[in-house]
Symmetry: D2
Subunit: 264 residues, 4 copies
């Protein structure tokens, strides 16, 4: 029975498009009785399409039933590789995945479009360096758009370069960093760009929402283009499809854990 409802709905625009000539020609005496005519509650109650049922985790922050677990404390090679497709030199220590200086980035073997991502990170408890040199790494959405990872606890730097910034494009709304050596979480909602026919322009730009330790720090901001260290992002836009998630090697032993993603 539900199927027939959907079928009728699918025909509606065509039916009425063609039939308007007749139906609208009803005598004015009938048409103008009451405008707008009164609706009933049932007219705005739809049962299709059905909403998928999933199981949330027992504890918020852990992966729900429909998540892809990208790292849960053990094998890194199942879901990740280095930029050349080889096993990474990043190491797993005490259930966390630690960047090894000079190993280069790691990226997922899977490619993603729109998603919800949960990732936890920790900068070293022993503070070394300052500014961009302290606890620096990064989460690259679709390989191109960086959410900055940095020890920004009492560590001034340029505002669109601190933890939780969309690097060199959007400073976070607030600095919600924990102390070095404490685990922190990013919950990221990502909408991939759609492209113009010319392949050099966004039809709609990438959009990013970030909660840092549960606090909203990026509210559906639009990106101007790929993350650049130097220059203007607008002029580096190139059409792309699904892309891996990338974690940056910036030379500091930043650790990651509890990484999961839900495709939207």
């Amino acid at each position: 029975m539900k199927k027939s409802v959907i079928t009728v709905l699918m025909l509606l625009p065509f039916v009425f498009c063609m039939a308007q000539g007749q139906q609208r020609n009803a005598p004015p005496s009938q048409q103008k009785q009451e405008y707008p005519a009164r609706m009933t509650p049932q007219m705005t109650e739809f049962f299709e399409p059905a909403v998928p049922v999933i199981q949330p985790a027992a504890q918020v922050g852990m992966p729900p039933s429909d998540a892809i677990v990208l790292f849960n404390g053990s094998d890194v090679n199942k879901e990740w590789e280095d930029s050349k497709g080889n096993p990474t030199k990043w190491v797993v220590e005490n259930g966390s995945l630690v960047c090894v200086k000079g190993s280069g980035v790691i990226q997922t073997k899977r490619k993603f479009n729109d998603f919800q991502l949960h990732i936890e990170w920790k900068s070293p408890s022993e503070v070394k360096g300052d500014g961009q040199g302290r606890g620096n790494s990064g989460v690259y959405l679709q390989s191109l758009y960086e959410v900055q990872v940095l020890d920004s606890y009492d560590n001034p730097t340029y505002v669109q370069g601190q933890a939780g910034s969309l690097y060199k494009q959007h400073a976070p709304l607030v600095n919600a960093c924990r102390k070095p050596g404490e685990w922190q979480s990013y919950d990221i909602i990502y909408t991939a760009p759609r492209f113009e026919e010319d392949t050099l322009s966004f039809f709609t730009p990438p959009r990013v929402t970030v909660l840092h330790n549960g606090v909203l720090i990026q509210n559906n901001v639009s990106l101007r283009g790929p993350t650049l260290y130097i220059g203007m992002p607008e002029y580096s836009v190139r059409k792309h499809g699904a892309m891996p998630l990338v974690l940056q090697d910036h030379g500091n032993p930043v650790a990651y854990r509890n990484i999961w993603i839900r495709e939207l």
Copy 2:
């Protein structure tokens, strides 16, 4: 030489993504000299991609060099057909294309996505009927989304059903109608919808701007779904690609002329 510029630009995001580790590790003494450093004018001057050159018509309203002329006063069968793909029974009289009651809609043989459309129309000089029954026709963008054509000169009807409305969704900002029997123009800028993976939802809705006789009457409004005579448009959304332009037979001898379109 221009090609090499583009090539370098294309590499930028990848180069910097990988190279940040080194470059950002410059000693603080060097980094903190001046923020933001002063730019020069030449840093925001780009020559690529080149902008296509076209020739505007000698008179605004006539087709520019890059337009597809859909009707210029003579042969209707070159670009149009009825809904079954047969020659239309609409007639060409004195250089204008006139709807013949009962002939059904006409549609372009070509299909379109985003476009700029110019179309001129005239309701009969002899006034017959009232409300929706006077000089009624319609321009269906991508076959589904109607810009209402109606003799709305001193002819009350429901506001989202008058001339220039997005039928049953958006009333025009103003009523800029000429008298019956006078030629009127619509200049329409149309952005086609993009769809979600589920194929039943807009990722971005259709957007429409309309100038009526040169006056802005719809300002980039979003549509909720296909035009419906009855019901809620949201629930009739179905994924589609390029679609013909359609002109409605609503039983009145509305005339059209000077129809051209530019694909965007």
Copy 3:
């Protein structure tokens, strides 16, 4: 020193607007050396405006330092009242705030515009009724826009009426409900509407993101108008400013706890 940076920045558009005549008139020989000229990293590094520092809670889900706590388990009368401004008849039991049938809604004494809201709710462990009659309540953003609260665990109803729907406008992306009697959380990011001059139209509509038990169920969706039980929301839009948060009495003893809000 930082102030002077800001001051210079404020003058820039005016300075260049006026000065372009001179500066652009440089001899072509000087202008055309290199386009686009190479930038340096420091040109995209800004220290202003500063980002406020806040303290996240020790545990995600608890209020950060910049949150307004609306209910923490004890006094309900500090922040809430009934729709007439009187003390509510809802009761505090075991640290949770429970709806009492017939008491009517409760609303915050404060008024809000854009915000991040955390709220936890529990439908009765003893299941009674079905569909809209089981564990029904609601969180009204700005008093007008309802995020549905319902026991939707194995309890079919119309899809835009189940838990986490924007009532009668947007079904949730997934059903992430816990069992009756278990605490559940909503994390809501709300962007208030801005209005057109006519006061009857949105310039930008209300936008809502919801995470249900940590799972994204509404992704920055736009509302057509205020929540209606009957009819078309578009035609009930009326300009408003900051408004209270409202919890609905739908006749079921739904419980709430740990309610906090951050103004954006």
Copy 4:
């Protein structure tokens, strides 16, 4: 009678918000008869609010009845002044308003928010200079956002600096220039920015549509910030309200005529 319709509509959201408890508690036997229940055409036909009636000009391009005429060939001092509020030194010649080098900009005495603007311009028929040095002037929307005026007929320059560009932000879609010495038209639809509370960020950016000689060259593009000759527009955003329209003195004797504006 119309008033009462509006009054009832205004009460709707509140009425239903409060009344849902009762109404939704109807016995399931009554509720589940048919979903969605069938609507009638009259339910989507509204007569309020009424649409204002205006008179279009006899010829498209001339001012409609609701336009403010800013220049019609004679007195320039009625609507315009220089940047200090004094009479301008620009001259009226043969019904057109000509820029005199060194006179500085001219601006309207009136201030505008959203608008539709028609303006015609002509670069000198005797070609002098090249690139930015030939027939250069500009239309500054709200004093801050420049639509470039330039003799771009066979005159290469950087693409976001040619005629019809949003200067240094958006190149035109096509180059639709007429020859030097011929009159050209811009039809501009402008949506002013709305601002965040911080006064340094756009809530929504300025948006601009431009038709050049009837050809769409800018399609509702967003601006990053005020027009800058040097630097990054994002960091010069400052909250503002209604602002004058400004025409630039760039040292070339560009002429203007038939300037009218409609507030939206």
